[in-house]
């Protein structure tokens, strides 16, 4: 065997893994993690989802179509191609499914088209947000058994998955996603209702803030897709005329917004940064005090070639996650709580005995948590709020693990040998009906 070097930690094919160290028993289950931004899907037991499809879909309205009222375009490529009359919509609202017909189609697209699997052959694990109402849970159950005809199914809270993905049975899960940032206390894999909080201060909020910020600066936010060519310039006053493509029709505004989101997303990734301390953030960014010490500028080039250095203003949108009153675009209605405030609220709702444990096990996941230095800021704010107990933030270092934490936790759960007694089987559904979900998956 000396001539064949083997990777350490990988068992040779002739050796059986020890039963005690391996609690997995793979039943070729599928894991579906539908979110507002993207829908993640893959095989249980793997470490990343096989496919990640945008939940946004394109539709060419057609009143004669009885089911969808138009022609659906699902998937990364179809929604990003310029089609006459195509509108971009999202089947999710408030973090939960609103348009069931389309959501079903997207799920089916994920499993049958992207994974090339037959839905009726695999047990299916679906994640849901903690605030998913009973009606929607029953509807999901119905779709899985009636439409997909799955042999077994289970619905699990995404926050529970996230705590499992970080190998913690009890944790305070802070999930910063696309539509919502939620805080959920988990005790032994059971989410608590009373400490659960959510706020729309998340990825979508950042996109809107940045879009507004750019608009105020007078930046022409023409997306890449509509431009023929670009020429670099730095002064907005002497901007060269836009050279746009002529499609022969005007793309729908929702389509343009989606395309704008693409470079705004890039801006979020490259330029946006979180200010590390709450109290040192300037009250008025247009009127900086003389002794103010900033953080280095960063340059960004917009699709039309406009180049600009962003100084303190690149901190503004992320700052609004913690302090919504500084949002560039004033928020309508009641001002939501900042994320740190929300965590404090959640902790205050909990039993006094478990608070210290929760503070010591804060799990921060979700794509928006990849914002530069956001964990540093969160840690700083929580340390100020709770000077006594130990505050510890756990956040996976790997980017995919952070983005797909909920899926990963579901993958772990569905491939775990002790989990197989929990599946809701088709037979049970036939006997009890859709209400079985409330009994089995509490």
């Amino acid at each position: 065997m000396a001539s064949t070097p083997q990777m350490t930690g990988v068992l040779p094919p002739t050796t059986k893994p020890a039963e005690l160290e391996y609690g997995g028993d793979e039943v070729s289950a599928l894991v579906l993690d539908p979110g507002t931004g993207t829908t993640r899907c893959g095989f249980a037991g793997e470490d990343t989802p096989k496919t990640c499809v945008p939940t946004y879909y394109g539709i060419i309205p057609d009143p004669e179509d009885q089911k969808y009222f138009g022609k659906l375009k699902i998937g990364e490529n179809p929604i990003n191609s310029v089609v006459d009359g195509m509108e971009i919509r999202n089947p999710m609202s408030d973090g939960v499914v609103e348009n069931w017909e389309v959501a079903t189609e997207i799920w089916r697209h994920c499993i049958e088209y992207r994974l090339s699997s037959r839905v009726e052959e695999h047990p299916l694990l679906v994640t849901e947000p903690i605030w998913n109402p009973l009606k929607k849970r029953e509807k999901t159950t119905e779709i899985v058994f009636e439409d997909f005809n799955a042999p077994a199914y289970f619905l699990v809270k995404s926050a529970v998955c996230e705590s499992f993905a970080n190998s913690k049975p009890s944790a305070l899960v802070v999930d910063m996603g696309h539509a919502y940032t939620s805080v959920t206390p988990i005790i032994d894999g059971i989410p608590l209702r009373k400490g659960s909080e959510r706020t729309p201060l998340a990825g979508q909020h950042l996109n809107n803030q940045l879009r507004h910020q750019f608009g105020e600066l007078g930046i022409r936010m023409a997306p890449w897709l509509t431009l023929k060519s670009k020429s670099p310039y730095t002064d907005l006053a002497t901007a060269p005329p836009l050279r746009t493509k002529d499609f022969g029709f005007e793309p729908h505004q929702s389509f343009l917004d989606l395309q704008q989101d693409r470079f705004i997303h890039e801006f979020k990734e490259c330029v946006s940064e979180t200010w590390p301390e709450a109290k040192t953030f300037p009250a008025d960014i247009n009127n900086l005090p003389d002794n103010f010490r900033g953080i280095a500028d960063k340059a960004f080039e917009f699709p039309d070639g406009y180049q600009r250095r962003f100084g303190i203003d690149r901190f503004l949108a992320p700052e609004s996650l913690f302090n919504p009153s500084v949002s560039p675009k004033a928020l309508t209605g009641d001002l939501p709580k900042g994320i740190a405030e929300m965590i404090k609220d959640s902790i205050d709702h909990l039993d006094a005995d478990i608070r210290a444990n929760m503070l010591n096990n804060i799990v921060v996941v979700g794509g928006t948590s990849l914002l530069y230095r956001i964990n540093e800021r969160l840690n700083h704010e929580l340390m100020t709020m709770f000077p006594g107990p130990r505050v510890k933030i756990h956040s996976p270092g790997q980017i995919p693990e952070r983005k797909y934490s909920a899926w990963l936790g579901g993958s772990i759960l569905a491939s775990c040998g002790a989990f197989h007694q929990l599946w809701i089987s088709k037979q049970e559904y036939d006997e009890v009906g859709a209400n079985i979900i409330e009994r089995r998956a509490k």
Partner: protein, 522 residues
């Protein structure tokens, strides 16, 4: 072999054939140990390498070997299985590794079918994790008898027990999910209080407290729940959680102070204990029964005497080898009368010589087993002497006083060096560089020649002392210069402004510390 050598052999009359074989053998052996030349190196290059060949990476231009598996690859088969923890009998599929015994039969389909039937595990391995807690259940009669409560209805109690069962006594979750119509504001303490009181009441009714087994009794007392105390505890926990930073700091300070006090107290206790131990007399451990008779007492006296002598001798013998002469061993020499006995010490004498050593350690050894009459006298005598050999020498040599020794220039050495040498060569002079460089000047100043004209042992000793003192003097002078220099710097800095005083002060203290050392020596 050259012709000259054979000629010489002929002259000497040595048979060439016998000699030829003998000297040849060693080179033959040597050749055998030479390592085989590795494949990748040319012969010329290999010849250049010496005995310690450098590690040369030999690159072989060929494909990797085929992996050699230890056993045959075990087949994996997709099998359906049932989970005994499920009531609906749902069948899921998983892949199971077939063991090697079944491999042989795996080729034919019929065999494989047969195996599939036998390989289905009797018990699903993860079923053992399906554990339910044992929860107390009460009957209607029991409820009516002891469990009635004005605040709690029967339905609500049932609901509570159902929740507890569902969430396996996870109180946090139970309190979180508790939603009984009209009673939503129940706290965890209310629920716990009710649950434990129900359990206690039912247990007590089933078996009176006095009749309970120890396990039941322990469980019964563990079920005791003091609601007020628990509420108060939670309040304190909460207070502790929401301390202000100042409070936290103050607390940490107090803890550090407490630890310091505790540590110093501990140290004090240790020191006191050590002092007590020092003041304490040694405890006797042996029994005194052996010394109660007159004979025993005599033995004891003898032993004490012996050990006393030994102690004395040891203390004198320690500093120098001269002790042998100075020792008050006159009594021993006097008693060791017969030279014949002294020159030939018997083994028994040697054995008895060891006995005082034993007695010194506290346990009183029996006197040596009685030897024959002749050696008896001699054995008691030599018992007190360290070794019988010294005894022998003493009896022959006349004892000299110190004055006499000086007169005859008689010296004693620990170890004599063989050969002839100058005494000055053996002088122990300081090795420091400063001494070697400066000593000639000082010696000249003192009017002492570099090479001693009369190196007797006395003058040599004096010279050594002088040299040491010179070295010490030089050391002190050097330190003094250093300190003076530092003082100058310090003063200059002070004049310029005292911002760096701290540093130089510490340097100064270092210097003074180091300068103390040579002074002490003097």
């Amino acid at each position: 072999m050259s012709g000259a050598v054979t000629d010489v052999r002929d002259v000497l009359g040595i048979d060439p054939t016998t000699l030829d074989q003998q000297p040849r053998q060693p080179p033959l052996k040597k050749q055998r140990t030479v390592e085989k030349r590795p494949d990748g190196i040319t012969r010329e290059l290999y010849a250049l390498l010496g005995e310690n060949a450098p590690p040369v990476a030999v690159v072989e231009h060929r494909f990797k070997d085929k992996p050699k598996f230890l056993g045959s690859v075990a087949p994996w088969r997709e099998q359906t299985f049932k989970n005994p923890a499920r009531r609906d009998g749902m069948e899921l599929k998983h892949w199971v590794r077939q063991n090697s015994l079944q491999d042989s039969a795996a080729d034919d389909v019929a065999g494989a079918m047969e195996i599939q039937q036998t390989a289905v595990p009797l018990d699903y391995q993860f079923a053992k994790f399906n554990i339910k807690i044992n929860l107390l259940e009460y009957s209607d009669a029991e409820y009516d008898a002891v469990l009635k409560d004005d605040d709690w209805s029967r339905q609500e109690t049932d609901y509570l027990f159902k929740l507890i069962k569902d969430y396996d006594l996870r109180w946090v979750v139970v309190a979180d999910r508790y939603e009984f119509a009209g009673k939503e504001d129940r706290t965890m303490e209310d629920l716990k209080s009710r649950y434990y009181s129900v359990c206690r009441n039912v247990m007590e009714m089933r078996t009176p407290v006095t009749m309970m087994s120890t396990e039941e009794g322990a469980l019964y007392s563990a079920m005791h729940y003091n609601k007020e105390q628990e509420v108060e505890r939670k309040r304190i926990v909460q207070m502790q959680l929401y301390r202000t930073p100042a409070e936290v700091e103050h607390e940490q300070h107090l803890i550090a102070e407490l630890r310091r006090i505790h540590d110093s107290h501990q140290q004090l206790l240790e020191e006191r204990e050590e002092l007590f131990n020092r003041l304490d007399y040694p405890q006797s451990t042996g029994s005194i029964a052996a010394y109660q008779g007159s004979q025993g007492l005599a033995t004891l006296a003898q032993n004490i005497l012996n050990s006393d002598r030994n102690k004395k001798r040891k203390s004198i013998a320690a500093p120098s080898g001269q002790a042998a002469e100075d020792e008050k061993a006159t009594t021993t020499t006097a008693t060791a009368t017969t030279t014949a006995a002294a020159t030939k010490p018997t083994p028994s004498a040697a054995a008895s010589a060891a006995s005082p050593a034993v007695s010194r350690q506290g346990s009183i050894a029996e006197p040596p087993s009685k030897p024959h009459g002749h050696s008896r006298n001699e054995s008691t005598a030599s018992a007190s002497a360290p070794t019988p050999l010294k005894d022998k020498n003493k009896s022959n040599i006349k004892q000299l006083t110190k004055a006499e020794e000086a007169q005859y220039n008689l010296t004693h050495h620990e170890k004599l060096q063989p050969g002839v040498f100058f005494r000055t060569m053996k002088m122990n002079l300081p090795k420091a560089n400063s001494f070697i460089n400066k000593s000639p000047a000082i010696m000249a100043e003192l009017n002492i020649p570099q090479i001693l004209s009369m190196p007797t042992s006395k003058t040599c000793a004096k010279y050594e002392v002088l040299a040491r003192e010179i070295a010490a003097l030089m050391d002190i002078r050097k330190q003094l210069e250093k300190v003076e220099q530092e003082t100058k710097v310090f003063k200059a800095q002070e004049a310029m402004g005292g911002d760096r005083t701290k540093r130089s002060a510490s340097v100064l203290s270092d210097v003074s510390r180091s300068s103390k050392r040579p002074k002490k020596e003097k």
